[in-house]
């Protein structure tokens, strides 16, 4: 049987009118969360018929009320069945959160321009609602403009519904301890009241019982409160109301007292029950937002996509109770598991076909999804604002719990938070790469301009000297030939040095991929640099003070030696012969501080930082060879090792260069490989 109700004119806005409207109309089917499963299915199928007949977009709406949270599992599971059925029939599903279902449905109706609402007929409950209107009646009052279709129930369905409720009741009665405690309170009240009988008015004894009932209402729930109230009335009547020790009531005014005692206890118990359920619901919502907040706060501080994926996996696994694997797309669009290869032995391996489907459709798949619903795992897309960044795969321990809308929503929200954070990192990386590329292009042009000048000068000297030696007409004596020969050799060496510096700088600027890290001692590397510059340093005094207990460094030995070598070369170029150069090193908890100091002329008015710019030279227009690459190479090398180089005036007035290199380079190097 079916009844059609509407407060607008049904004929005027009938089926034909809806079907002919320009955009497709929209319809909702409201299902009570604790609806009898068979009837819920009946409702959804009826909704489907209307939707097809009238060509409407339709959505199944379920309003979650605070009492829902204390409902037995059975009711929730049946709601999930309803949602699954609805999705399989092509409906959208929405869960609304509100204390009064009708208000939420009405608000949704207005917001989304819903034209038609399908509801089930009111249930006839064992306990009639005296003070509250049924959802249907409220809807009628609030949804003016929408058509409301009420689907009726038949008798045996109602019986089933009642059966369901009885089952619920049984669960509540199981808390027999509460009832025992409730009776205990009555006994206690009586014990307190008995000695007072001759000293106080009988009305004050009523107050003692009221206090007891209130305490029970606050602590033990509705059922025990009713029991206490009834027991209180009995005890009060039997022990205190004259004639005492009989249930006979001589004065009819006591009947009113009994009634008030009962009513007050029940009202308080009801109020407490409502407040408690609302606080549980609020607690659940607070938990959701706290979980989201915790994750996003931790993610905000991170710069490494793999670590972020690991962190979010932990959070989601904790919140959704299950195992989580996050797959991220790399630059080629392939999915890979961060933190190395997939564990081949693990039973929990994401299906690549499903992952690909999820990436392509940007939709949830697997367990509870439209596609691959038979899977044990849930596949969630990680969608940023532009593209699908990866897939989150969840193997819930408790499948039913994971599919609860509030849990599912939390899981999706956490996945969304991760996706946005990953996208932020990805965009930051892109911006960094673009900046590097621009810097590299600028470097290349400066380099070309500089090299063409610095190569032409020695080349012309070589060509000139060579031609003089080759032509007999110049009639050079042995001494002059020797001079020219040495000139050629010197200039060729300068050019070689320039060339190797340029090549080295290019290699360093293209990234840290070529770092060959091995364990090296500072002493050995300084020794190699000194040896390489033995000839140059003959007239300089070098003091090396390195403790034999210095920790080893995990560095690219060749590069670090070159860095020391560049510093020494620099000293030779820019300090007068006889200058003392001292080399010391101090280990600190996580870095090594190496200091090279000389007592030469120092930097003067020059800002030492300027020296680290490419092509910067201490003295402009000087006759000292080189293009000012040495120190910028030093800095590039130190920074590749996540250290740095700085220059300052030494106490002696000379130059002081300080190199810092991380000691625990092993973990540091991992960082660099991910962020660059």
């Amino acid at each position: 049987m079916m009844a059609v109700l509407n407060d607008a004119d049904w004929q005027g806005s009938g089926a034909a009118g809806l079907a002919n409207s320009d955009s497709r109309g929209r319809m909702i089917v409201t299902v009570a969360p604790d609806e009898n499963p068979d009837f819920a299915e009946h409702l959804v199928r009826a909704g489907k018929r209307y939707a097809v007949a009238l060509d409407l977009d339709w959505t199944v709406v379920c309003v979650e009320t605070p009492p829902l949270l204390s409902n037995p599992k059975l009711a929730r599971d049946s709601r999930l069945e309803v949602f699954r059925l609805a999705e399989s029939l092509g409906a959208g599903t929405v869960t609304l959160d509100a204390a009064v279902p009708a208000v939420a449905v009405a608000a949704y109706t207005r917001l989304h321009g819903i034209q038609m609402i399908v509801v089930g007929a009111a249930r006839t409950l064992a306990r009639p609602r005296l003070l509250r209107r049924s959802t249907m009646a409220s809807l009628l009052a609030q949804c003016s403009g929408a058509e409301i279709i009420v689907i009726g129930r038949d008798a045996d369905r109602r019986a089933e519904a009642d059966g369901g409720l009885t089952a619920t009741r049984v669960v509540e009665y199981a808390h027999w301890l509460s009832y025992a405690a409730a009776l205990g309170i009555t006994v206690l009240c009586t014990l307190i009241a008995l000695p007072l009988l001759n000293h106080v008015d009988i009305i004050d004894i009523v107050m003692v019982y009221m206090l007891g009932a209130t305490l029970v209402a606050l602590r033990l729930g509705r059922g025990p409160t009713i029991l206490t109230a009834v027991a209180n009335v009995g005890a009060f009547d039997f022990l205190f109301v004259p004639p005492r020790f009989s249930f006979y009531v001589s004065d009819s005014q006591y009947l009113i007292t009994f009634g008030v005692m009962l009513a007050v206890a029940i009202i308080i118990a009801n109020l407490v029950a409502v407040v408690r359920k609302q606080s549980i619901a609020a607690g659940a919502r607070a938990h959701t937002s706290a979980a989201l907040h915790a994750l996003s706060r931790e993610l905000a501080a991170m710069r490494d996509g793999d670590a972020m994926a690991a962190l979010a996996s932990r959070h989601i696994a904790g919140e959704s109770h299950g195992a989580v694997v996050v797959l991220l797309r790399d630059n080629q669009g392939r999915l890979r598991q961060p933190g190395g290869a997939m564990d081949q032995r693990s039973k929990r391996r994401p299906e690549s076909a499903i992952c690909a489907w999820v990436v392509e459709h940007r939709q949830r798949a697997g367990l509870g999804g439209e596609a691959f619903p038979a899977e044990r795992a849930m596949y969630l897309p990680l969608v940023g604002s532009q593209e699908c960044i990866g897939v989150l795969v969840l193997w819930p321990l408790d499948v039913r719990r994971a599919l609860l809308p509030e849990v599912l929503r939390l899981t999706e929200a956490l996945a969304g938070t991760l996706a946005l954070a990953l996208e932020r990192v990805h965009l930051a990386d892109l911006a960094e790469a673009a900046r590097l590329a621009a810097e590299r292009a600028a470097l290349r042009s400066t380099l070309l301009a500089s090299i063409s000048h610095d190569l032409r000068t020695p080349l012309s000297a070589i060509a000139g000297a060579g031609s003089m030696m080759a032509h007999e007409s110049f009639a050079l004596d042995a001494h002059r030939v020797g001079t020219l020969g040495r000139l050629i050799e010197d200039k060729a060496r300068d050019m070689t040095e320039l060339l190797s510096n340029v090549l080295e700088l290019m290699r360093l600027e293209t990234g840290p991929g070529a770092l060959k890290r091995e364990w090296h001692s500072v002493e050995d590397m300084v020794g190699q640099a000194l040896r390489q510059n033995q000839g140059r340093l003959a007239l300089w005094r070098v003091q090396v003070a390195l403790s034999p207990t210095l920790p080893m460094l995990l560095v690219d030995g060749g590069l670090i030696v070159q860095m020391f070598s560049n510093f020494l070369e620099n000293c030779v170029k820019y300090t007068p012969a006889g200058t003392t150069i001292s080399i010391t090193a101090v280990p600190e908890p996580d870095l090594m501080r190496i200091v090279l100091e000389d007592d030469g002329p120092g930097f003067g008015d020059l800002n030492p930082e300027f020296l680290f710019d490419k092509f910067a030279r201490g003295r402009l227009e000087s006759n000292i060879s080189g293009v000012g690459l040495g120190l910028s190479i030093c800095r590039a090398i130190a920074r590749l090792h996540l250290g740095d180089v700085s220059a300052a005036a030494a106490p002696s007035g000379g130059a002081r260069f300080e190199i810092t290199l991380p000691i625990d380079a092993e973990s540091e190097s991992r960082k660099v490989s991910v962020t660059s």
């Binding site: 364990w519 002493e523 040896r531 390489q532 033995q534 034999p548 030995g557 060749g558």
Partner: protein, 240 residues
């Protein structure tokens, strides 16, 4: 020692460098055989039985490394690599193929000649006798496992240091790669370059006057170490 009538085999494809090297060696009293290809170099080595070979790595037909490997199959003739390749891996590959020394282009003529002479001396001298050895500023007695500085202080060597020094002496004046050293000191399957460097450091503190400027155990950057017995065998001005 006279170097007269020593035969040098140059395997080098660039005619400019060929000319320079020919002039250099002839001026120093060598008889010079020049080959432009790896194949020709291998044949000439069998035909002319040179006293020393100078091999370029970038040859038109094959890599110069192949020449060294082929020659090492039958001859201990000193081989000096002369190459523009500067990367550590390439130096290492050349030493592992059996090269005695490695000179980087552009080279200086006196330096190349110094290295050629050192290689010849080493070849003539053969392996050092085990036992007592005079190094720069220190006398080592392998049988007693002690080292005595010329300033009088005497130190004992630990068994590992002793084994390491023994290995270095066996390859005296030649480069011992990290791999060889680790294999001979710790045995095969040992890939811990950290402890190798720790022991080299402690050995230097016992044998060197100034461990930060070692004279006896010299680092060959990126390749290995060299024990200097004959100071003339290591040029004073290595390539920078």
């Amino acid at each position: 020692m006279t170097l007269a009538m020593h035969v040098v085999l140059l395997v080098e494809d660039d005619s400019g460098i060929q000319n320079v090297l020919r002039m250099l060696f002839e001026a120093n009293g060598f008889r010079v055989v020049v080959e432009k290809t790896a194949k020709g170099g291998q044949q000439a080595a069998r035909v002319h039985r040179p006293d020393i070979m100078i091999v370029d790595l970038g040859l038109p037909d094959e890599d110069g490394i192949r020449v060294i490997q082929e020659v090492r199959l039958w001859s201990p003739v000193p081989v000096i690599v002369l190459s523009a390749r500067t990367a550590e891996e390439q130096r290492l590959a050349a030493f592992e193929a059996g090269a005695d020394d490695y000179v980087v282009k552009p080279f200086s003529a006196p330096e190349l000649m110094a290295r050629v002479r050192a290689a010849l001396r080493r070849h003539v001298r053969g392996e050092l006798p085990q036992g007592k050895l005079e190094l720069n500023g220190v006398a080592v007695d392998l049988s007693l496992r002690t080292a005595r500085r010329t300033n009088g202080r005497s130190v004992r060597l630990t068994p590992l240091e002793h084994r390491m020094l023994e290995t270095l002496i066996r390859h005296a004046d030649r480069v011992v790669t990290h791999k060889t050293l680790m294999r001979e000191v710790w045995g095969p399957h040992r890939e811990d370059s950290r402890s190798l460097r720790v022991y080299i450091g402690s050995l230097r503190r016992k044998l060197e006057e100034d461990p930060s400027r070692p004279q006896n155990i010299v680092t060959e950057p990126g390749v290995g170490y060299r024990l200097v017995v004959d100071p003339k065998s290591v040029p004073q001005f290595p390539e920078s």
